[in-house]
Subunit: 294 residues, 2 copies
Amino acid sequence: MTSPLFSRVAIVGFGLIGSSIARCVAEYPGLAKDVVCIDRSQAVCDRVVELGIAAAASTDPALVATADLVVLATPIGAFADLGAIIGPHLTPGTILTDVGSVKQSVVRDIGPHVPDGVHFVPGHPLAGTEHSGPDAGFASLFKDRWCILTPVPGTNEAAVEKLAAFWRGCGSQIERMEPGHHDRVLAITSHLPHLIAYTIVGTATDLEEHLKSEVIRFSASGFRDFTRIAASDPVMWRDIFLNNREAVLEVIQRFTEDLTALQRAIRWGEGEKLEELFTRTRAIRRSIIDARQA
Amino acid sequence: MTSPLFSRVAIVGFGLIGSSIARCVAEYPGLAKDVVCIDRSQAVCDRVVELGIAAAASTDPALVATADLVVLATPIGAFADLGAIIGPHLTPGTILTDVGSVKQSVVRDIGPHVPDGVHFVPGHPLAGTEHSGPDAGFASLFKDRWCILTPVPGTNEAAVEKLAAFWRGCGSQIERMEPGHHDRVLAITSHLPHLIAYTIVGTATDLEEHLKSEVIRFSASGFRDFTRIAASDPVMWRDIFLNNREAVLEVIQRFTEDLTALQRAIRWGEGEKLEELFTRTRAIRRSIIDARQA
């Protein structure tokens, strides 16, 4: 039997994604010998020990010194402070990565704290559910899903390839992108859809009580699909919008212009405009089915 | 064995919903002796005969004279013309219903053409998929889904109850509502979500080609859920928006105000406002799960 890719993986922030990575290491031999948990919440550490999904769990960031792969899996708003705290404890040769949904801000916030000899390779597994916390994770979360790596120019190629191998071992397909390009693509495929879902569900919560109870009762006719997305982790999503501001504001602007045009078409009874758009959007669905992403 | 509720069901417009009702009659004994198809498209009639899902299929609306239950299942924009065409052929004692997603316009468009002695009971099964046409239907489409009936005051109670029994036989739960109230509830639970989904997918189709192909590739991160909704029948949805204009414009207005407030919070970095909303929307998801609609 060949030795595993890594000796020890330290996961900082043990929520849905962090605990799913830990479960992958337990499930798929060849990834790492063991996993340790670092979380600022003692309750989370206690739960991780109870679940038996890490060899050790501590609130002490110095524990990263024992690992050769360190994965930051907290909400990205914590990254600047986290970089300052864990940077001094990282040992040369270690690969440092993250799972954040925005990549330019991560390069900005973590980059300055990475010591010489430590290889920083930002990453983003496109996977998740609307559930949070260490109990929510599962080993198959990353199976057949994309993991986007966004190393800056000059990053050690062997380190990038080793991290890619780790994610392939979790079941993912790998794509490499420039951080700014990642943020633009995700603004439209992920951040705008989540913002819209939060908005529409928020609009419903402001309705008169009797109408709200009926909206819940008859939610299966379209609304329900949005509530699942709008149940995602509040702090994680707050940080995504604050840290991908420019790209998100740009797509909101486009979206609003398009919605206003539709609103006007409805007001003036311009049926042919509506039908033309609704026919065009149907074609996009076919493309997604053809790309086997449906 | 007791005799079935109806002798013959005539379904006008044999798409997803119409052909699903026909399949229910074939599958569940007790609903009706047989089903006939009336569709203005000879190709659809031919296909219905091929599929063997109706006792007869014709483009001639006079065929409704042979039925004691007539179901209008075309896009609602055709209803005013359809009422004028089939009205004279309806025989006394017949129950006339429809499956349209807007109910005030249906009462307005069909009501004047209903002859004395014919019982008009508007209905709306809250069921559907993104697929269209006579091949897309299936008998379990209405199982455990709501069917809303919106009879106007003075409607024969026995006729309403008989139609309710028919839908219960298809697996549905019945709710009665005033037509205007139905249209307000559906504007938020169904019409706005579809409009938003059409808009966001439309926004994506206008992107530069290279970005568009990546949006399709990485669509699983949220966008994909919208494309399924935005693949719904274009003519059906055009007619819904044109015929529920007031209620839809009112909810678009509320939605746009809420989106603008979020946009401003993102621009000015007001994290606490975002987190507060995202926490509130999570509670709605729990209500839907508690109401067993998830």
